[in-house]
């Protein structure tokens, strides 16, 4: 197994770890830090792959990732929680051990699902596809368990990261135009989320989404 | 040949029309004897008719044309019925005009007109009578039809003449189904002709009367026609019974000499049946109107049983 592969696998393992950390993290501020860290690892990973295979467009996407997911998005999020002064904890719906347990189950499922695919993938990074899928599912789980809007959004963005990781690990990244489109969407999406925080805030003067459970089928 | 037919047809019809009151008189006489009263004369019904026909008609203010038309219709349909049933001869020109089903329909026509006419004036008794009459009829009619169907099935025909010929002119053969049918027929006959136990022909006791309530508002010639038709109806029913259940002696097609014999036979049979009817009425008591459905239900049941028995043992 080549050195690059080992590095990539290491980084992948770190990503998975971060995903779990985010799943278990109570504090919003830390959550954002972890998100930024995830982005960093991601871009590093992309960079390594690019270097190993000298794929020009991978360099570009590495840079893109770094700018977007390490600098811009975290910065926006920080600004937001400052403006909304949300330095408080985020509490989870059910207790953390259970959640992490479920997370582990998901990892197993993801690995098993990814096994046949990764055998097909011709990339040096194929081993990490399972991890990518796992981190997607874990972020999904995180979105389910969080009850603060911001945390949910961070989960959403983490899922985006997982997808991006999957893209790089399975196929050395999507075509450029698509990557640009995705990046744009994510950026705009985050802005809109930001706008929403303020709407929600000024309407319910809290970002707790249990305020957002009024709409149902009244009988 | 056709002349002979027409003659026998007219003869039979006239015979029926003219003798119907006599039959009524005979039955009343028998009843009087059985109740050991002194009987009115045999000709009493004729006197009644004549008296009524001579009187001035008295009609309610609000009587409509339907009211005045009804007696004629009722009388006419009874005459028609009487000329369809083979009483003395089986080859009647009119008889192809109606089979047993049509005959039942004919009775229904008369009944419906009577019921409507009774409601025309708008008296309490009129509508009461018509309701009861229609109820009894609604239950009696199916029974009657089924009664007819048993011989119809035996003869594979619903044409009266065919039935009678089949039954009369083939070698004697006992049909248990016919026994059931006969009993049912008698019960229907009692109900349809307003006899005890279903109705009491000789009462004006308001709450129990059925037939009398129907003709309550009629007088004079209209009443006469109604009564005559009523007598005729009884006559037709009895002759029907004869034709279906004891048809022996009816004149074969084209037998001149058989005719007088047939007439005599019919006379005897009618006399016997009338007497029997009187006995029946004498021994039974009138029942409540809501017992009547049960009574007719039994008749219906017997008729159906007869039919089924026909399928079981005779078909």
């Amino acid at each position: 197994m080549s050195a690059v592969t080992q590095v990539v696998n290491l980084l992948a393992a770190i990503l998975l770890l971060i995903a779990f950390a985010m799943l278990a993290q109570r504090r919003l501020l830390r959550l954002i830090h972890l998100f930024a860290l995830q982005g960093g690892v991601l871009s590093l990973n992309t960079f390594v792959v690019a270097a190993a295979l000298s794929q020009p467009h991978l360099y570009f996407s590495a840079v893109l990732t770094f700018v977007l997911k390490v600098l811009v998005l975290p910065w926006i999020l920080m600004r937001l929680i400052e403006r909304l002064d949300l330095k408080r904890d985020v509490e989870t719906l059910i207790n953390i051990p259970t959640i992490t347990l479920i997370g582990i189950v998901l990892v197993i499922v993801a690995f098993n699902l990814a096994l046949p695919i990764s055998q097909l993938a011709g990339t040096i990074t194929r081993g990490t596809l399972g991890i990518a899928m796992a981190s997607v599912l874990i972020s999904f789980l995180m979105m389910i368990t969080r009850r603060k809007a911001v945390a949910q959004v961070i989960g959403f963005l983490a899922m985006e990261n997982g997808l991006f990781f999957a893209a790089t690990s399975a196929t050395y990244g999507m075509p450029m135009v698509v990557e640009l489109g995705i990046a744009l969407d994510v950026l705009v999406g985050t802005f809109i989320f930001g706008i929403f925080f303020f709407h929600i805030r000024e309407t319910f003067d809290s970002l707790d989404i249990h305020h957002l459970e009024k709409l149902k089928d009244r009988q | 040949m056709i002349w002979f037919d027409l003659v026998s047809q007219l003869l039979q019809s006239l015979l029926a029309i003219l003798l119907a009151p006599l039959l009524l008189g005979w039955i009343n006489q028998c009843r009087a004897w059985l109740q050991n009263r002194s009987a009115p004369s045999l000709l009493q019904p004729y006197r009644m008719l004549r008296k009524l026909l001579e009187k001035d008609a008295v009609i309610a203010h609000n009587a409509s044309w339907l009211f005045r038309l009804t007696p004629y219709v009722v009388f006419a349909s009874m005459v028609l019925a009487a000329s369809i049933v083979p009483i003395v001869a089986t080859d009647l020109p009119f008889s192809p005009a109606a089979d047993v089903i049509a005959l039942v329909g004919l009775f229904a026509v008369a009944r419906v007109f009577m019921a409507l006419a009774a409601m025309d004036i708008g008296t309490a008794f009129g509508s009461l009578g018509s309701r009861r009459e229609m109820l009894i009829a609604a239950l009696a009619e199916p029974a009657l039809l089924i009664v007819f169907f048993t011989p119809a099935l035996i003869a594979q025909s619903t044409a009266l003449t065919t039935i009678v010929e089949q039954l009369a002119h083939r070698q004697l053969h006992l049909y248990p189904s016919m026994a059931f049918a006969a009993v049912a027929f008698v019960m229907v006959l009692l109900a349809e002709n307003a006899r005890i136990p279903v109705d009491n022909p000789s009462t004006h006791l308001e709450l129990t009367m059925v037939h009398e309530a129907l003709i309550l508002e009629y007088s004079a010639r209209h009443l006469a026609l109604m009564d005559w038709a009523h007598a005729l109806k009884l006559m037709v029913y009895l002759t029907l019974g004869i034709a279906l259940f004891l048809p022996w002696g009816v004149a074969q097609p084209g037998h001149w000499l058989a005719l007088p014999l047939a007439v005599v036979a019919v006379f005897i049979k009618l006399a016997l049946l009338g007497a029997g009817l009187a006995v029946l009425e004498a021994v039974s008591a009138k029942m409540r109107i809501f017992r009547v459905p049960e009574f007719l239900g039994i008749a219906f049941l017997l008729a159906v049983l007869g039919m089924l028995i026909h399928f079981l043992v005779e078909a």
Binding site: L120, L163, T171 | -
Partner: protein, 483 residues
């Protein structure tokens, strides 16, 4: 080429323009004008396709084939009529002080942007761009759903955003897997995501990958189609957004999402060589029909009612595509067309009705036919059409679908029968109560803009009685392609 550019460019320019000055008094007219010009461009494109046949342009970036050409025209058309409708509608809302000029600007800008994303999603040849466009469509509409800034509308928009965002993320994963599979056949680089190429090699794609990819794609785009149990955003978003948006959501977005699903199904079917994808879609379809029908019977809000009806009809269409075969797919396409026209017409009428009575609560809307016969009859006829009563187009498609199902999948027909009967009972009882009887509402200063309603219904009626030959040909070709 030029037509494609026009079709895509006009709404984009319009979006920029109106985002800058959408609060001017002439903004609504401008909006209508842009929509109209887009429609004209689309018609030109259609005409070109009719004459020259399918085309692939701009370095294979865009393509038009039998499947998307009529959807493009339909989208442009409904976009135009909705703009006409919203001109009056939004003015009333403004007069009632429900909208500030700023929000009106947002509305107009986003409206055009939404049109752009829809058309892009339809025209692009690149499955990745298709995904981008779908996501962009969500982003464009989410702020429109919360346009009124009421708590309810914000909640609805949030749910819409989160659920569709998550769903679309699954779709992205599916797309990646698709790319992974395609790459091994077509080599890496842009061409591996071009649908035309994928379509050529669909037989050689790796089945296991595509199977999993299809699951993600189905769950992802299916969320936007509103398939049960992924549908929960749909009624809220329809009920709380402004009515024109409800109209385009039901009329266009669901269609395009289903379009995306079907495009991918084509590849998966060929790759797997089994009927697995079809079976999944049939299952989702039936589930959606029956569940939506049951929901229908408990609705109190008129817009929610018709939102659930949209779920039901999308279910029917999905079921049809799931069954596959020339007739069923034909019927599915016809159903998409008829449903989007009818449902948008209904929402127009509903919008006017709600404005006249000042409420969306069904029990408070009575006797519309006396207040405004046009609105009343529009709603009545629209409802009759959507309930699948001939001679409207919806019936034509349901006729084909039901008869096909009766022969190929008899076990499914009782469910469909039950669903349709329930839906009929639930919708029609409410419809009758709202349209007929004694009236409660007062007249409005503005005359309702009902020309769109009746134009739509007229076309739907036509579809039931006579389908233009070239349209029929497209349906046939597309059906043949879908298989």
């Amino acid at each position: 080429m030029t037509e494609v550019l026009l079709v895509l460019g006009l709404p984009l320019i319009g979006a920029v323009l109106l985002a800058a000055s959408g609060d001017r008094p002439w903004a609504a007219e401008a909006n209508t004008a842009v929509a109209l010009s887009t429609l004209l461009a689309a018609v030109a494109l259609t005409a070109r396709v009719i004459t020259l046949g399918p085309l692939v342009t701009m370095g294979e970036l865009f393509f038009v084939d039998a499947f998307n050409v009529f959807l493009v025209t339909l989208t442009a058309f409904v976009g135009f009529t909705t703009a006409v409708f919203s001109r009056i509608y939004m003015r009333v809302e403004q007069d009632r002080g429900k909208l500030s000029p700023k929000r009106l600007r947002l509305y107009h800008g986003m409206y055009q942007l939404f049109m752009f994303t829809m058309l892009l999603a339809l025209l692009t040849n690149n499955v990745g761009i298709l995904w981008v466009a779908m996501e962009a469509a969500t982003l464009a509409t989410v702020l429109l759903v919360s346009l009124y800034r009421t708590p309810a509308s914000i909640e609805a928009a949030w749910k819409y955003f989160i659920l569709c965002g998550v769903g679309i993320a699954q779709a992205l994963f599916g797309t990646i897997l698709l790319y992974l599979a395609a790459e091994r056949v077509l080599g890496s680089g842009g061409s591996a995501l071009l649908w035309t190429h994928l379509n050529d090699v669909k037989g050689q794609l790796e089945p296991t990958v595509l199977a999993i990819a299809f699951v993600f794609l189905l769950v992802g785009y299916g969320t936007k189609v509103g398939l049960v149990p992924l549908h929960n955003w749909l009624p809220d978003a329809h009920a709380e957004g402004p009515t024109p948006i409800s109209a385009v959501l039901s009329g266009l977005l669901l269609n395009v999402a289903l379009y995306a699903v079907v495009r991918n199904k084509v590849l998966v079917d060929a790759a797997l060589g089994t009927h697995a994808a079809g079976t999944l879609m049939m299952g989702f379809g039936l589930l959606s029909v029956i569940v939506a029908a049951l929901f229908l019977s408990r609705q109190k809000d008129i817009k929610r009612l018709f939102a659930y009806s949209s779920i039901e009809h999308m279910g029917i269409a999905t079921f049809a595509f799931g069954m596959g075969g020339a007739v069923a797919s034909f019927a599915g396409l016809l159903h998409m067309t008829a449903h989007s026209l009818t449902k948008s017409a209904i929402f127009f009428a509903v919008g006017h009705a709600a404005q006249k009575t000042g409420t969306q609560i069904i029990d408070d809307i009575r006797g519309l036919i006396h207040v405004s016969p046009a609105v009343g009859w529009g709603l009545m006829i629209g409802g009759i059409a959507i309930l699948g009563i001939p001679p409207f187009g919806v019936f034509a498609s349901e006729f084909l679908i039901l008869t096909t199902a009766m022969k190929d999948h008899p076990w499914a027909t009782p469910i469909l029968l039950l669903g349709l009967a329930l839906a009929f009972a639930s919708i029609f009882s409410r419809l009758q109560a709202m349209v007929l009887g004694e009236s409660t509402a007062e007249r409005l200063p503005h005359p309702p803009a009902l020309f769109p309603v009746f134009v739509h219904l007229l076309i739907v009626l036509l579809l039931g009685l006579w389908i233009p030959p070239y349209l029929a040909n497209w349906y046939r070709q597309a059906a043949a392609m879908i298989g």
